[in-house]
C-alpha cells in the first residue's frame, strides 16, 4: 500500500511547484528535538561516561581513557552476559516465531470456533508484563505452584518439587518460555495477515496443476512468507535483546547469573553496584549490538518494499 502511494507521489511531482518545501521539516523538527533530548543526548552521555570513572562514594569523576573497556574485555561476567543474551535470543526467536508460524497456519484453516481460538491465542500479547510475571511467579512456586501437579503427573518418579525459577538449569528455559508465551501471538498475527493476503488464484492454479496440499504450502505459501519470516526473525532478536522486565522481575538475572542478559547486567552494575561508568561501558557494547541488528532490519525491509513496489 505504502509503496503504491510512493509511486503516485513521484508521478505527480513534476507538475507540483519546484520550490523547496519546508513543511515536512517543520513537522519533523519538534520530534527530532524531542527524541534528541530524551534519547540521543543520553546515548552520548553514556558514551562519554564510559571513558570516566564514576562510582558512587569513590570520589570525583575522573577521565580514565580506555580502562573501562580493558576491564570489560577481561571481565568473565561480561562474556557470560553475552553468552546468556545469545542463548536467550536464539531460544525466544525460535520458540516465539516458530509458535507464531504454527498458530498462523492453524488459524488460516477454516474450522468451527476459529474466531474464538484466534482471540484466545492473542490474549498473552495483550496481557501486560507485570501481571505476566505475577502469574508465572505463582504457577512456578516451588511449594504451591500448579506446575508441580503437572510435573508429577508427567514425571511420576520425581522425589521432590523442582526449584523451577531458582534451579540453575531450569531458569533459562522457563524465562524463554515466558517471553515466548507473551511474544508469539504478535508474530502469529503478522504472519496470518500475510497468508490471508495471498491471492486465491495462486492456490487454484496450483490445484489445477495437480499440487497436493503439502505442495501448495511448499510452493505457494512458503515463498510468500519467507521475506516476512526473515523480518520477524530480526524483530524477534531485537525484542529479545531489549527484554528487561520479564527477566528482571522473575529471576533478577539469577540463579548464579544464569539468566543475566546484557541489559540486566547494565542495570545491576549501575543501580546495585553503583558503578555508573562501568555500567555505561557495557551499555555502549549493547548499543553496538542494537545498531547492527536494526540496520539489518531496515535493510531487509527496504529491499522488500522495493520488491513490492517494482
Amino acid at each position: 500500500m505504502t509503496a503504491v502511494a510512493g509511486v503516485n507521489t513521484q508521478l505527480t511531482k513534476p507538475t507540483a511547484r519546484r520550490r523547496r518545501d519546508y513543511l515536512p521539516y517543520l513537522l519533523a523538527l519538534p520530534i527530532i528535538i524531542y527524541e534528541g533530548v530524551f534519547i540521543l543526548i543520553p546515548i552520548l552521555q553514556q558514551f562519554f561516561s564510559s571513558f570516566t570513572s564514576d562510582v558512587l562514594g569513590m570520589g570525583p569523576v575522573r577521565w580514565v581513557g580506555l580502562d573501562n573497556y580493558e576491564r570489560m574485555f577481561a571481565d568473565r561476567y561480561f562474556w557470560n552476559s553475552l553468552r546468556v543474551t545469545l542463548v536467550f535470543m536464539v531460544g525466544t526467536v525460535i520458540v516465539s516465531v516458530g509458535a507464531g508460524l504454527l498458530s498462523a497456519l492453524l488459524l488460516n484453516q477454516r474450522f468451527r470456533g476459529r474466531s474464538v481460538a484466534r482471540a484466545v491465542m492473542t490474549l498473552p500479547w495483550a496481557f501486560p508484563d507485570l501481571p505476566t510475571v505475577l502469574i508465572f511467579y505463582w504457577i512456578l512456586n516451588q511449594n504451591f505452584g500448579v506446575i508441580n501437579v503437572f510435573a508429577r503427573f508427567l514425571l511420576p518418579w520425581l522425589e521432590q518439587n523442582p526449584k523451577w525459577m531458582f534451579d540453575i538449569n531450569l531458569a533459562m528455559p522457563l524465562v524463554v518460555f515466558i517471553a515466548a508465551w507473551k511474544a508469539f501471538p504478535f508474530y502469529g498475527l503478522v504472519l496470518l495477515s500475510v497468508m490471508q493476503s495471498i491471492p486465491h488464484e495462486l492456490y487454484e492454479a496450483a490445484t489445477v496443476d495437480g499440487a497436493s496440499r503439502r505442495q501448495a504450502f511448499r510452493y505457494v505459501t512458503l515463498p510468500e512468507l519467507i521475506p516476512t519470516l526473515m523480518l520477524m526473525g530480526i524483530l524477534a532478536c531485537i525484542f529479545a535483546f531489549r527484554q528487561f522486565v520479564l527477566i528482571f522481575l522473575s529471576t533478577g538475572g539469577g540463579p548464579a547469573r544464569a539468566t543475566e542478559t546484557l541489559v540486566i547486567s547494565v542495570y545491576k552494575t549501575a543501580f546495585n553496584s553503583f558503578d555508573f561508568s562501568y555500567g555505561a561501558t557495557i551499555g555502549v557494547a549493547g548499543f553496538a549490538v542494537v545498531f547492527a541488528i536494526t540496520l539489518a532490519f531496515a535493510f531487509l525491509q527496504r529491499r522488500q518494499e522495493a520488491a513490492a513496489g517494482g
Binding site: 500500500m1 502511494a5 507521489t9 507540483a16 513543511l23 515536512p24 521539516y25 519533523a28 520530534i31 527530532i32 527524541e35 534519547i39 553514556q46 498458530s103 488460516n108 484453516q109 477454516r110 474450522f111 481460538a117 482471540a119 484466545v120 498473552p124 495483550a126 496481557f127 501486560p128 508484563d129 507485570l130 501481571p131 505475577l134 511467579y137 501471538p185 504478535f186 503478522v190 495477515s193 490471508q196 486465491h200 492456490y203 496450483a206 490445484t207 499440487a211 496440499r213 501448495a216 505459501t221 535483546f241 531489549r242 528487561f244 522481575l249 541489559v263 540486566i264 547494565v266 555508573f276 555500567g279 549493547g286 548499543f287 542494537v290 545498531f291 532490519f297 525491509q301 522488500q304 513490492a308
Partner: protein
C-alpha cells in the same frame, strides 16, 4: 477483512465424508495452543476468586471449589497490608493520560511529515524513529536517571510521561502514517484545489478520516505508560507515588503479601489493557512491524 483462504477446501481431493478424520490433528493442535495460552490466565482468575486456603492446598483443585469475591473489596480497602492498589491505579491513570496527550500531538506531526510527498532526509528521519523504537530502555535509564536526578525532576508524573512518550512515539507515528497512507491522493488534491492549505487539509480532512487511527494511537500510548515498569521504578521513589506496576512489583518481594490480593491487583490492572489492545490490535500489529506488513 476476514478473507479466508481455505487450502483444504480448494486442494483436498478426498471425498467429503473422510474430511473430519483428517481434521482431528488440526483440532488437537488448536486445543493445545489454546490451553497453553489460556491456562496461565485461567489459573490467575481461579486463584483470585476462590478462597485463599483452597489455593494453598496441595494439590490445588484445578476447578474452583468455592467462589469468594470479597477479595476485590479488600484490594481497594486502602489498608497498607494489601498494598495501596487504589492509589497506584489512580497514579497510573494520571501518568497514562498525560502520555496519551503528548503522544497524540507529536505523532500527528510526525505522521503527516512521513505521509506526504517525499523529502530529502525522510529516510534518515524514518531510520531515527526505527532506532528509537528498537533501543532497549535499560540502556538509556542510567544517563537519563542521572540527568533527571541532577535537575531535581524525579518523583514527577510530568517527567515520567515525557520519558514514556519518547519511547512510545515511534510506534504511534508508524500507526498513524499507515492510516494517512490509506487516504486517497484524490481527496487530498481536491481539498487543495478547493483552497485548503495543507494545515487546513490535515485538520479538516485527514484527521477526521484517520479517527480510528487516532484512537489506536491513544490506546497504545495510554497503555504503554500504564504498563511501563523500568522508568517508573527508577524515576519515582515515594511509595505513594508508585504507578500500579511498580507497586505490584514491590509486593512480590514482601513475603507476607497474601497471594490472592497480589494476583487480584494484577487482574484488575490487566482488564483494561487486554480489552483495549484486542480492540485496536490490527493497527498496533501493523505499526509494530513498522512497514513489514501493509494495511
Amino acid at each position: 477483512m476476514e478473507k479466508t483462504i481455505s487450502t483444504s477446501a480448494a486442494a483436498s481431493p478426498k471425498p467429503h465424508r473422510y474430511r473430519w478424520l483428517e481434521r482431528i490433528p488440526l483440532y488437537v493442535l488448536v486445543l493445545m495452543f489454546c490451553l497453553v495460552t489460556a491456562f496461565p490466565i485461567y489459573w490467575m482468575i481461579v486463584s483470585v476468586v476462590q478462597p485463599v486456603n483452597l489455593s494453598l492446598q496441595y494439590p490445588p483443585p484445578l476447578f474452583p471449589q468455592a467462589i469468594d469475591l470479597k477479595v476485590f473489596g479488600e484490594i481497594f480497602s486502602g489498608r497498607e497490608s494489601v498494598g495501596r492498589v487504589d492509589i497506584w491505579i489512580g497514579n497510573s491513570l494520571v501518568l497514562a493520560t498525560l502520555t496519551t496527550v503528548f503522544s497524540l500531538v507529536l505523532s500527528i506531526f510526525g505522521a503527516y511529515a512521513l505521509a506526504g510527498r517525499r523529502w530529502r532526509g525522510q529516510g534518515l528521519f524514518g531510520l531515527m524513529l526505527l532506532m528509537t523504537q528498537m533501543l532497549p530502555e535499560a540502556l538509556i535509564v542510567i544517563p537519563l536517571y542521572a540527568t533527571i536526578d541532577q535537575l531535581k525532576l524525579k518523583d514527577s508524573f510530568l517527567t515520567l510521561a515525557l520519558v514514556d512518550t519518547a519511547f512510545v512515539l515511534p510506534i504511534c507515528i508508524w500507526i498513524l502514517k499507515n492510516v494517512f497512507d490509506t487516504i486517497p491522493n484524490e481527496i487530498r488534491d481536491a481539498a487543495l484545489v478547493d483552497g485548503c492549505n495543507r494545515i487546513g487539509m490535515l485538520w479538516r480532512i485527514m484527521l477526521p478520516i484517520a479517527a480510528p487511527g487516532l484512537v489506536a494511537v491513544g490506546v497504545v500510548a495510554f497503555f504503554h505508560a500504564w504498563n511501563e515498569y523500568l522508568f517508573a521504578s527508577s524515576l519515582i521513589s515515594s511509595r505513594t507515588m508508585y504507578t500500579a506496576p511498580v507497586g505490584l512489583g514491590s509486593m512480590i518481594s514482601m513475603i507476607d503479601t497474601p497471594i490472592d490480593k497480589l494476583l487480584g491487583g494484577g487482574l484488575v490492572f490487566s482488564i483494561f489493557p487486554v480489552i483495549f489492545y484486542l480492540l485496536v490490535q490490527r493497527y498496533v500489529v501493523a505499526g509494530l512491524s513498522a512497514g513489514a506488513v501493509k494495511g
